[in-house]
């Protein structure tokens, strides 16, 4: 082949490829501000769609009369544009639907079926496509269930929907015509104030109180659509939730919340605490982890320190002693203990070292034992200086939220510049991954790598939980004000997203029991499952930032008064 021939071939190829790509972009994109087409009117009652009418103009008077049932909500979804879906492979089909925004339409033999965004949310089909379910990462819709849903509406088998129906995606504008509006509130970073944060904290705490059982356990994971409790339980998260309730009780000064915290701590102490050799630890397995004990210790410290129940002081001392017994000479912790063999297992997994460091630091408030403070300082030193050291460590990070809470809180007594530097770099990394709004998707403040998956609330909450003490420590360390401003802005954007997503009241038309769900924080705006650590991380983060705002206001006021 000559160079000239090669050049001609590649030039022709490039032109053809550009034409293909531009055609694809234009052919599949939706105009989100297009002219109204058909209007899909739906009546929702107690989380179920009970009637639907599709018309070229407004919902008919007759249909509106049907909606005049107590508790019913009449919703209008106006289709503004329609586009193709490639059915060549289930993966392509799944990825062709923008989560939380697109609806699906199927036409067959003169009949038309719609799965609107509300229908897809009610069936929990967004972010349920192919992915890695072990880490709860799924992209796109659940194609099988979409086809079943469309097939039910068209009264044909799902396979025929795929093979014979014309299936398209559509964009729509949604509004409620009657009933309580479930519209997403318009909350931006400027609306993140002490007052709004306090209201959100209260709602989150009340959700947990409402969903605590008489034995002190929580409804660990609840489907907000059906109000069903999902299987599973996790003791570290139970302890973390108890911690948040104790913090919220002190913040809100509410006895009912304090009582819920005490109940959560009591079940931990009485039913899931036992011997670990000569020490006492939390867990009911033959091999226990330090995470459960660390989070339980944090909860007990808060319960004692806030005055809810000083009777937990003994438990504080016992668990602090256990954690210190698990600590190595270099400051790292052995994360497991084998009760049968009565020995520690020197293995490490994520989170536990940071949790133990924070727990020992806070335990000092109750024990006044310098060994606890020293253990915490040595742990933070290890985590800041030796733990995450390799070439490329500035471009990739683990989950450091517990480490950075410990490092931030320890700054006043044991400043560790290396740990603070790690935490500031981690937050800068988070900021690089912080999402902005996409067309039709109010993602601003979340974390991720694009519009393919809706942002999860637990990572948002945990990053803010750590960002606030990092901000405070960085201020004390005299870090550049521009960097501090960026971190503060990052926090506010994240908290605004959380407040937009929290069920106050949320999409009540999709809920069987909206009063039970009020205040809950879902896994994401489209995954309406409430697991207890969502309100925990988010609530703790809000308390921290509300206190920071109050403190900053006091300092400014004092500074102004002194002039």
């Amino acid at each position: 082949m000559t160079l000239r021939t090669l050049f001609r071939i590649l030039a022709a190829y490039t032109v053809a490829l550009l034409l293909i790509c531009v055609s694809l972009v234009l052919g599949v994109s939706l105009d989100l501000e297009g002219a109204p087409r058909e209007r899909i009117c739906s009546i929702w009652l107690e989380g179920r769609r009970i009637a639907r009418e599709v018309s070229p103009s407004d919902c008919s008077a007759e249909f509106r009369k049907k909606a005049a049932i107590s508790g019913a909500q009449l919703m209008e979804e106006v289709v503004v544009d329609e586009g193709p879906i490639l059915k060549i492979h289930p993966l392509v089909f799944a990825w062709s639907i923008v989560s939380g925004r697109d609806g699906i339409k199927a036409q067959y033999q003169g009949r038309t079926a719609y799965l609107t965004p509300s229908d897809l949310l009610a069936r929990q089909l967004y972010d349920r496509g192919p992915g890695v379910s072990a880490i709860e990462f799924q992209v796109g819709v659940d194609v099988e269930k979409v086809l079943v849903g469309l097939g039910d509406e068209l009264q044909i088998p799902p396979e025929e929907v795929l093979q014979k129906a014309k299936v398209t995606r559509f964009a729509s504008h949604r509004k409620f015509l009657t009933g309580e509006s479930g519209a997403v509130p318009s909350i931006g970073p400027d609306q993140v104030t002490v007052a709004t944060l306090t209201a959100s904290v209260g709602a989150a705490a009340h959700y947990l109180v409402r969903n605590q059982k008489p034995d002190g356990l929580f409804r660990y994971s609840v489907d907000a659509v059906t109000n069903e409790e999902l299987p599973g339980y996790n003791w570290p998260r139970h302890a973390g939730t108890t911690l948040f309730l104790a913090e919220a009780a002190r913040f809100l000064e509410e006895p009912a919340v304090a009582q819920a915290a005490r109940q959560g701590a009591t079940v931990l102490r009485e039913q899931f605490t036992g011997p670990c050799g000569a020490e006492v630890c939390v867990g009911d397995e033959p091999v226990v982890n330090v995470g459960s004990s660390s989070l339980a210790l944090l909860a007990y410290v808060e319960i004692v320190d806030s005055g809810i129940d000083p009777g937990f002081s003994g438990s504080v001392r016992q668990l602090a002693q256990f954690l210190r017994s698990q600590q190595r000479g270099d400051g790292e912790f052995r994360h497991f203990y084998d009760r049968n063999q009565r020995r520690s297992i020197d293995q490490q997994v994520p989170y536990y070292s940071g949790e133990a460091a924070l727990a020992l630091f806070r335990a000092f408030r109750v024990t006044h034992d310098p060994k606890d403070l020293d253990g915490a300082a040595r742990a933070v030193d290890y985590l800041g200086r030796r733990h995450w050291q390799f070439f490329g460590n500035r471009y990739y990070y683990a989950e450091e939220h517990w480490t950075c809470q410990a490092a931030g809180e320890l700054w006043e007594s044991h400043p560790n510049p290396q740990a603070l530097d790690l935490c500031l770099r981690w937050q800068a990394f988070n900021r690089a991954c912080q999402l902005e709004n996409y067309p039709g998707l109010p993602f601003d403040g979340g974390f991720g790598f694009g519009p393919f998956v809706q942002p999860r609330m637990a990572p948002v909450g945990s990053r803010v939980e750590a960002a606030v003490p990092t901000l405070i420590a960085a201020q004390a360390a005299g870090i550049d004000p521009v960097a501090l401003g960026n971190l503060d802005s990052q926090i506010r954007r994240s908290l605004a997203l959380v407040m937009r997503t929290q069920f106050i009241p949320g999409p009540t038309h999709l809920m069987g029991a909206p009063a039970v769900m009020n205040g809950g924080v879902p896994t994401s705006p489209v995954d309406l499952k409430i697991r207890i650590d969502m309100p925990q991380h988010v609530g703790s983060a809000m308390i921290r930032y509300a206190r920071y705002l109050s403190q900053s206001a006091r300092v400014s006021h004092a500074g102004g008064a002194g002039n």
Binding site: M1, T2, L3, L6, L10, Y13, L17, I20, C21, V22, L24, V25, L26, G27, V28, S29, L30, L32, G83, L86, V92, W95, S96, V98, C433, L435, E436, Y438, P439, G440, F449, G450, P451, F452
Partner: protein, 156 residues
Amino acid sequence: MDSLASESTLSPTSAPARDGRDLFFGATNLTVALATGIGVFAGLPLRWWVVDIPSVLVIGSLLTAAGGLLSGAPWGHRVARITGTVQLLVGLVLVTLLSSSVSYLWGTYGAVGRGGALVMGLIVLLVVPYFIVLPAAQLVWIGPSLRSSKGKRDGV
């Protein structure tokens, strides 16, 4: 050296003189074969015949061409020409599929964001050097086949 002139003085079965370029392209063919093998059979988590079978054929032909070029076998250049053509076609198909996927996602989601665009762009750029630039350079170096160049000479 003009590959056309050099081939016209040789019989169809004798080997062209081996030079540094034989070694260079022999080595690159070997490298791309290894990278493709690792990428497909170690990197991809699932087996799918649509990818696996063409990959085996590509790897086989690359290894054969590498062997021919490095050993100076008489069939080395011929095989390298075929392999280079196949490699270039695979590269053009891959870039087309990847670019189409990026375009489809861009059209569907409106904006894939800086991170998403960067990752996708990097993937496309990884394919271009190994499956477009290298085989194209190899084809230009080897030049047209002996039969086609002889035919053109006779036709003048």
